[in-house]
């Protein structure tokens, strides 16, 4: 078979894979039994999730006074965690939408699981503002409902309301994009179970596949749908973190009201999202035997995006410092001096080390093509991006205009429990996804097999 692509491009799918082998490899975890590592991971995540749910229940029962937030630091871990999770979600949409528009073939091995990660991360993120409301059963008050419910109309001038619209649109559109891409792959799983003679599983996957038959008209519409949804999701993903950043940027708090926030937050979101994708994918490729599909080339491509977005974030940090000095506003100058040398210096410098210095190591080709190094750096970036949000939120608030109200923030047991609990929710959902859903977009991968598969690149 003649090759369809330049020979100098390295293959994206290793091994001697034909169409049937792709189906077999990707459906293997669904059709087979879970190994003991999966059960260990699942048990640990599930227990953590239950712990988090317990802490949330305690918060609702007692009130949000059980958190460490106080009068001065009114927003603390809850909003930190919210922004952190929302940011992590951004990589999935970026991989599936933006890279689709750019026709990047390497996205096809990772887009499914990255989108799943988006959905689960947004679920974790949404918990925080909802529970910060205190009376969660009144959460529907954020919707534009008439004032018989006890409030006036919602305020469309407020970035917090923009957030409601942005995140609900983002969540539902990502979910639909992800699910409609899954439909043909569920059909593949369904027909595999039919060939294996398992009618029960066949029935379940038929319901999930919406009765997909894979005829030419359906595929034609499928491709149009994917393209237009990608076109819609691209500005959407940029708008979501822009709006999240406006929660801060439209305020008058020194350290928050900077015009650089929207691009800086978007770059940071993609940066942290790719780090989380790498963390998960490097584990998944080992445990699900996907070494031939998620290769060193995929990892290198993601690492290049990490260098780019990490550098944007680094430049943003320096710009913030410069502008605070150049502005001549003493409150602004103090806010940044306090960040770097005040009582939270350790958080600031953890952020700087993890986000600005470590990703620069990826300029070295040996490091960005090394799985262990990538895994370690991805963890550093995850930690660093959490600290970034903590620094922005807590250090800007804890010393406000009135020195008599200056204070420190101390997380309580419940704060920690809820944050760890969301990690439990995230990993529980992701592990269930790995066992029941096709983790790689089979249909899409088959369509690039001839141009990028090792077997055909001769």
């Amino acid at each position: 078979m003649a090759s369809h692509e330049a020979h100098i491009r390295e293959p994206l799918i290793l091994g001697q894979k034909d169409y049937h082998q792709v189906t077999e490899d990707i459906t293997y975890p669904i059709a087979g039994k879970a190994n003991k590592y999966w059960w260990m991971a699942f048990t640990a995540s599930f227990i953590t999730m239950c712990w988090g749910v317990g802490c949330l229940a305690y918060t609702v029962g007692t009130g949000i006074g059980v958190w460490g937030s106080n009068k001065t630091v009114g927003w603390a871990w809850d909003i930190t965690n919210f922004v952190w999770w929302i940011g992590i979600g951004h990589a999935g949409t970026l991989i599936s939408a933006v890279l689709l528009l750019f026709r990047q073939k390497w996205r096809m091995s990772i887009n499914r699981s990255a989108e799943a990660m988006t959905i689960f991360a947004v679920i974790c993120a949404a918990l925080f503002p909802v529970f910060h409301m205190g009376r969660v059963w009144l959460a529907y008050w954020v919707l534009p409902l008439p004032n018989q419910f006890g409030s006036l109309w919602v305020n469309f001038n407020s970035p917090l309301l923009w957030d409601v619209f942005a995140i609900s649109t983002y969540f539902t559109v990502s979910l639909v994009f992800w699910y409609l891409g899954l439909v043909p792959d569920f059909a593949t799983v369904r027909d595999k179970f039919a060939r294996m003679g398992k009618p029960f599983q066949q029935k379940i996957y038929n319901i999930l596949s919406f009765g997909w038959s894979g005829n030419a008209r359906a595929w034609h519409r499928f491709e149009e749908l994917s393209l237009v949804l990608a076109g819609l999701s691209t500005p959407l993903v940029l708008s979501v973190h822009t709006i999240v950043s406006m929660d801060f940027a439209t305020s008058v708090i020194p350290g928050w009201h900077t015009t650089i926030f929207p691009p800086y937050f978007v770059a940071g979101a993609i940066f942290s999202g790719f780090a989380m994708v790498l963390t998960l994918m490097l584990i998944a490729r080992k445990t699900l035997n996907l070494e031939d599909y998620i290769t060193v080339n995929h990892v290198e491509s993601m690492n290049k995006i990490i260098i780019l977005t990490g550098s944007i974030v680094g430049v943003a940090y320096l710009t913030e410092l410069f502008i605070s000095w150049y502005s001549g506003v003493e409150y602004e100058q103090y806010a940044f001096l306090n960040r770097a040398s005040g009582p939270y210096w350790w958080a600031y410098w953890s952020m700087m080390t993890c986000n600005v210095i470590t990703p620069q190591l990826f300029w070295i080709k040996k490091i960005r093509r090394n799985f262990t190094a990538t895994f370690i750096i991805s963890i550093f970036v995850n930690i660093g991006m959490w600290f970034e949000r903590f620094v922005i939120i807590v250090t800007s608030l804890h010393r406000d205009y009135l020195p008599s109200s200056w204070t420190m923030f101390h997380p309580t047991f419940i704060d920690i429990g809820i944050f760890v609990g969301t990690l439990g929710i995230f990993f529980t959902l992701f592990l269930l996804f790995c066992r029941t859903f096709p983790v790689i977009a089979m249909a899409e991968l088959k369509s690039i097999l001839k141009s990028s598969g090792n077997k055909y690149k001769k």
Partner: protein, 176 residues
């Protein structure tokens, strides 16, 4: 009247595409093609017109934008103008900058969901729908053309010999 359907199974999408082009040029009408992934270039060959889903999406988006503006104008300008931070709320256009984010999100919401629902409806996809791909290997690694005999002037034998000459590995005939 009984309907005769001929199915030709192929191992490779490029062979199928060549075969389909060949048969269509000889006047055979192909009813449909089943494949595990989209075969690029098959649509004009078997006569599938370009879908209007994207136009639909635009219309849904425009609807979303209009509804968003109507909602915000009603709630914040007409029904209960609120003076928030001294921002003008007497006229819609004066408050428009603050309305942009919600306008954008609502537009995307309507465009994406409207299009997705339309897609499900026109493809007749819903939970509980029964699949009609004639061979369950077509979602794995096989490609199949479906030719309805009643659409064609040629006999079943002629079509079958054309299929096997152009590379079909299995040819089956079904009456329904």
């Amino acid at each position: 009247m009984s309907k005769k359907i001929i199915y030709g199974l192929f191992d490779d999408e490029e062979i199928l595409l060549k075969s389909a082009k060949d048969m269509v040029s000889k006047g055979v009408r192909i009813k449909d093609v089943f494949s595990p992934f989209p075969i690029h270039g098959i649509d004009p060959v078997i006569g599938i017109p370009r879908t209007r889903l994207a136009i639909g999406s635009f219309v849904y988006g425009a609807t979303g934008l209009s509804l968003a503006w109507l909602m915000m104008a009603y709630m914040l300008i007409w029904d209960w103008p609120m003076d928030i931070g001294g921002k003008p709320s007497q006229f819609f256009y004066m408050n428009l900058p603050a309305f942009i984010p919600v306008s954008f999100e609502t537009t995307v919401f309507f465009a994406a969901h409207g299009m997705a629902l339309t897609y499900l409806i026109v493809n007749r996809l819903y939970p509980g729908q029964q699949p009609y791909n004639p061979d369950n290997r077509t979602t794995d690694d096989k490609f199949m053309v479906q030719i309805n005999l009643e659409d064609n002037k040629k006999s079943a034998e002629e079509i079958k010999s054309m299929l096997s000459a152009t590379g079909a590995v299995e040819i089956t005939e079904k009456e329904s």
